[in-house]
Symmetry: C2
C-alpha cells in the first residue's frame, strides 16, 4: 500500500504541489451567485471539480463551511470527496478535530481512508487535549495509507501566545509538538511518515526554524493569498522542507470564480507558481 506521502510526491511532480482549499462561506456563495443551501453548495463543488479537472494534487475542503449547512452540507462534502478521488487527486479534510483518545477513534473512522465515513485521504487535527490523545488517528493514518496534519504553528496571529507558551524544559508548545510528531514518525522507520504538521505560510524566517524539527513530515502551509503570504514567501521560508510542503490557497484563488474558465486560469497560474517554488 502506498503512503499518502508517496502518492503526494508522485502527484506533486505530475501536477503541482499546490493544495486548493475550499471555504464556501456565505459571502463566497453570494459572490458566485449561488443559493446558500446544500444545492448551491453542490454547484459550487461541481464547478471547482470541473475547473480542477485532474490538474491538482490535493483539494482541501474546510469542514466548517460544509457543517455550516447542517447534515445536508456534510452530504455535499462526502460527494465532493468522492469526486476528488475520481480525479485521482488527494482529499484533505481541514477538520481541526481534537479530543480525548476514545473520541479521536471516532474521527479516525469518520475521515481516514476509502472505507471511512467520509472516505478522505487526510485530515487536520489539533492537540489542546494532548498529543498522545491523537494516537488513534495516527494509527489509522498509518494503517490506511492516509495522513494526519497536526496544527503546530497556525497562520493566524491570535494563535501565537498559546503556541509560544513554554514547558518546564524551555521548549514552546509548538516546538514540543513538532518533536512529538518527529518521534512518532521516527518509530515507524525512515522517510516521510503519516503524521504531518500545519505551519502557516505566514511564518517569518525566524519562526520557520520550527521546520528543522520536522524532518520526517509533510507540511501543510495555509494562509497563502488572503492571509498575506505569497507562494514565493513559501519557497523562501520553507526551504528546510523542500519537496514536502503543500502550499494551500483558498480565497485568493476562489475569488476568480464562478466561471470554470476563470477558475481554471487561476488554478493554472497558481500551479505554475507552486512549481517554481520548488525550482
Amino acid at each position: 500500500m502506498q503512503s499518502f506521502a508517496e502518492r503526494f510526491s508522485i502527484l506533486a511532480e505530475a501536477r503541482s504541489p499546490l493544495c486548493l482549499g475550499l471555504d464556501p462561506s456565505a459571502d463566497l456563495m453570494r459572490a458566485w451567485g449561488l443559493n446558500d443551501d446544500p444545492e448551491g453548495l453542490r454547484r459550487f463543488c461541481d464547478t471547482v471539480l470541473e475547473a480542477a479537472g485532474e490538474r491538482l494534487a490535493v483539494i482541501k475542503p474546510q469542514a466548517g463551511f460544509f457543517e455550516r449547512l447542517g447534515a445536508g452540507g456534510m452530504a455535499e462534502m462526502a460527494r465532493l470527496i468522492a469526486g476528488i478521488r475520481a480525479q485521482g487527486a488527494l482529499s484533505l479534510i481541514d477538520a481541526k478535530r481534537g479530543d480525548v483518545a476514545s473520541t479521536m477513534e471516532g474521527y479516525a473512522q469518520g475521515f481516514l481512508g476509502a472505507s471511512s465515513g467520509f472516505g478522505a485521504d487526510a485530515m487536520t487535527v489539533t492537540a489542546y487535549l494532548g498529543f498522545n490523545a491523537l494516537k488513534p488517528v495516527f494509527d489509522r493514518g498509518s494503517a490506511t495509507g492516509s495522513a494526519v496534519f497536526v496544527v503546530v504553528h497556525s497562520s493566524n496571529p491570535e494563535g501565537r501566545s498559546l503556541q509560544n507558551a513554554r514547558h518546564p524544559d524551555g521548549r514552546t508548545v509548538a516546538q514540543a509538538l513538532a518533536d512529538d510528531i518527529t518521534a512518532f514518525n521516527g518509530k515507524l522507520g525512515a522517510g516521510t511518515g503519516p503524521v504531518g504538521a500545519v505551519v502557516g505560510a505566514t511564518v517569518d524566517p525566524a519562526q520557520a526554524a520550527i521546520l528543522n524539527r520536522l524532518p520526517q513530515s509533510l507540511i501543510l502551509a495555509p494562509g497563502v493569498g488572503a492571509q498575506g503570504a505569497s507562494l514565493a514567501d513559501v519557497g523562501a521560508n520553507f526551504a528546510a522542507t523542500r519537496g514536502r510542503t503543500l502550499p494551500s490557497v483558498s480565497r485568493g484563488l476562489l475569488r476568480h470564480g464562478p466561471t470554470v474558465a476563470g477558475l481554471r486560469q487561476a488554478i493554472d497560474r497558481h500551479r505554475d507558481e507552486a512549481w517554481r517554488m520548488w525550482a
Copy 2:
C-alpha cells in the same frame, strides 16, 4: 430572549443538573445489539430519547461518534437534536471545534441556535488557534441565547502538559484561558455569560482552583463514571461553581442499556445523585 444559562438553571431545578453524554462507539453499538450504521444509530438515539422522556436538562451528543458514520451519521445527529428540543431539554454538541476566526464563523452558523445548520443550544470548542479566533462563536452564542464551552482543563491525563505550559507572565495556558473567558463574559454584564468552560470532573482539589477564575461561567464537567470521577467528587471539588456545574456522564450510564427500562433506572439514579451534589 432567555440565555442558555437561564434555561439551564430552570431545567436543572425542575429535572436535575445532570448532562447525559452520548458516545455511540462501535463497541457500544455491538453491546446494544445494533448494526453499526445510520439506521442502528437512529435506534440508539430513539431508545435514549424514550428513556430520557423529559427527565433530563441537557443531552450532549459527541460529534465524533456521529461523524464516524459519515453524512448519514450526521443526519442522525440533526434528528436527535430536534428530538432533544421536542423534550424541552437543551442540546450541547460536544464538537471541540477550534480554527481561525473565519472558519469559526462557519461552525457558529452550523451549530448555535434553532436556525443553525444543526439547531443546537450549545457547543464545545478548543483554543489551540487562540482564544480570540473563537470570537465568532461567542458572538453568535450571545446573539442566539446559546452557550459555548471552551476546553480549559480536560478530563484526560494526556492534556496536562500542554494545558500547564506557561505564558511569560507565569500563568498556565489553562489559567490564561479561564481569565480570557471571564473577561469576555464580564464585558457583557453581571451574571452568568454565554462562554462556559470545560473542566474535567477528574480534577483534584488543587487543580479545581481554576474554577475560582470562572465566576461568570457555566462549567461542563465530563469524565464522571468511566474516567474515574464520581458525582460525589464533583460535588466536593466543584463547590466554587455550585449551581453552575453540568456534571456529564456517558459510558457509565449507557452501559445500562439497551432496554428503555434499564436505561431509565440508571438515568433516575444519576439524576438523584446529581441533585444531591448540589444539596
